[in-house]
Symmetry: C2
Subunit: 466 residues, 2 copies
Amino acid sequence: MQSSQPKTALVRVQDLTPEKADQLIWLRARIHTSRAKGKQCFLVLRQQQFNVQALVAVGDCASKQMVKFAANITKESIVDVEALVRKVEQKIESCSQQDVELHIERIFVISQAEPRLPLQLDDAVRPDGEGEEEGRATVNQDTKLDNRVIDLRTTTSQAIFRLQSGVCQLFRDTLTKKGFVEIQTPKIISAASEGGANVFTVSYFKTSAYLAQSPQLYKQMCICADFDKVFCVGPVFRAEDSNTHRHLTEFVGLDIELAFNYHYHEVIDSITDTMVQIFKGLRDNFQTEIQTVNKQFPSEPFKFLEPTLRLEYTEAVAMLREAGVEMGDEDDLSTPNEKLLGRLVKEKYDTDFYVLDKYPLAVRPFYTMPDPNNPKYSNSYDMFMRGEEILSGAQRIHNAQLLTERAIHHQIDLEKIKAYIDSFRYGAPPHGGGGIGLERVCMLYLGLHNVRQTSMFPRDPKRLTP
Amino acid sequence: MQSSQPKTALVRVQDLTPEKADQLIWLRARIHTSRAKGKQCFLVLRQQQFNVQALVAVGDCASKQMVKFAANITKESIVDVEALVRKVEQKIESCSQQDVELHIERIFVISQAEPRLPLQLDDAVRPDGEGEEEGRATVNQDTKLDNRVIDLRTTTSQAIFRLQSGVCQLFRDTLTKKGFVEIQTPKIISAASEGGANVFTVSYFKTSAYLAQSPQLYKQMCICADFDKVFCVGPVFRAEDSNTHRHLTEFVGLDIELAFNYHYHEVIDSITDTMVQIFKGLRDNFQTEIQTVNKQFPSEPFKFLEPTLRLEYTEAVAMLREAGVEMGDEDDLSTPNEKLLGRLVKEKYDTDFYVLDKYPLAVRPFYTMPDPNNPKYSNSYDMFMRGEEILSGAQRIHNAQLLTERAIHHQIDLEKIKAYIDSFRYGAPPHGGGGIGLERVCMLYLGLHNVRQTSMFPRDPKRLTP
């Protein structure tokens, strides 16, 4: 059945309030649920996270045939309805629009859904364990991801990805206000800058190329090219065969690089302030989304300090040792120790976000600037949210000769990183930066436990679809 | 020589005005040029597009050795100077700061450039043909691109990429205000949706994958998942062996997709309004950048109409025929005919931007919605800037059955596009969209003639570096 073209504008479900009572309106929405009962058919009509009860009843406006027709429209179909808005006596607790219902006079199917849905939206948003006794189902993650086009319609998914869109916007707006320039860096590259491990290979006409693991070289080139402060948002590729809750083979990197004047802590301050602006923006403008996600996945509100807590690596090692961990001064943090440290920091400082500064030089990449005051350490840092790393960064060596020495020390083939080293031969300011994983930031901010929940179409070693 | 850490803040070159006269300031900048003359050394110090004259002269503040030291600092090195700001009697025409000069008292080298630069910045910004008689060089494009880290320092490059950053920001801000949600779509995909031509292959663990030629499928899935209006900004990959002024193998796509209510012209209007907001934003906020680029590459100001001119394909064919072109009703436009049409439209309507609507169905992809009133045509459109295509878009078929029929008609292997077709089986609203190439928009807005000028690190069949 084709829709006629009504002259009136379509009303949004969220605007259906008692002020619209007794008005005849047009609306386009999905059939969320449908229940026929004698001469009536109750529908719940949905638009994104908003829904309203609607009724087709045999009487002046509807024939028996029409009620039957309405009752047979499959769930998830899209319909246009002409309906009278009616105030209700008793709040409709199950709908977002609790004070009104619609009395449908005409109904047209715009797009018919197949009768068997691969998953039910109500099941997909049910908190783990809830309704188990009544035999109610939840939907496992692979089924959700396999049928993402339906799973993304749930209130939880809508909230997650609207919040994710907000993170990107807050990131860019904050940096733009600080005078950063957005750059676009190539994803197909001719050489793998850090030796070639964990890189995807691309067939490139008669030769081979690689997918960039990070925009770092290009960000640094832009700094050497006088852009002073740059950021970029784009895909980052990691050919790691890691099947964990927090690894993806393709994710969105939010990257920052800037020249500094006197001390690399200017870089840390710039990044932490950006993170704080993001946290504040989410807290102030995305409360509805946060609460929607919390309904299905309860978590504590995300806590942060101003200014951001900055600990030195040696302090962290001391805290861990006090908690019984045995580790050497220059050992890297294992994932369990990172998490434990996160709990210790939360207890002591009451923050879910902090910076760990001055990593041992030995555990960082060759381009990391050594600490001028102590050769065992380096001008490098990681940032953590709820005990998990979200950013790794450093002051970069901006002197070609020192960079060459450090590469030799790391036994890196100089020929392969020639272009990288040459970038610093024509005058390069002191600079540093870091990269944040968008999906991880969203996961940890919301207190979720799998990064696939915050990637619309996740890619991992076992998943390439949809 | 290491910089001491002055207590005072560093002044920006652009802030060096007569109000600062007789102040002692600290500044970090590059040596743009250097000319020793007896007991004096004249330097031009540069920060991005701003520069100022500076002087080291034997006297109270500088020894003969210091003048010699200053004169020996290589061009493009980065220095910190302590200097007295002095008003000048006669404007310094060759510098952006024309009313003051600096009398240097101390100078430290922060980063030394190698003495032989692969290209000279002054040569790289010289307009074609200028100074030819004096034997002055210009720099060819490959030399510029091979040494991009230096070439990006020129006033022209700085202006181009600041404007490009502005295009992205205007695009996103306009759409965010209209209620669009930003999405992130995967670049590694399991199947090439349009049959597999022109797609880069990636090794993916034990299998193969492809690089996405467009985010279209994912944008459409988001529409089917109730996001209603979405946009994305990200890399797009085309394995076409096209070596032209306007083709890249990797470029940045600015993509839009939206559900509409009654007519696909709602989609066209949404896109053209976004373009108009971009044009206005550039005109109003990037005049300095536009004029800087024009100095090297003169062009007419970009003209556009409000509302945007929309022509039907049949009208375009008529205009071309009137101009002597022989073509059938359902023939596609060749590139020369597109350009000719651009000139004809400019003459008749005085606009550099217009929409060509209702393309013949035969020349469009299988997922294009046929015109319900005339099966020879389709609900599809291209948009042009200065006679070159910047966007191709359409109302998409949102019905799985019709989509299947059209795919069969195009002899497409249904198995390969199964996931695409299945996306529309669970209720899909009428929708349409399109994708814009960022580099082309910047090139054509500025009246440039090669898309490599508006890609920081361009990729084409012959170029994978830097």
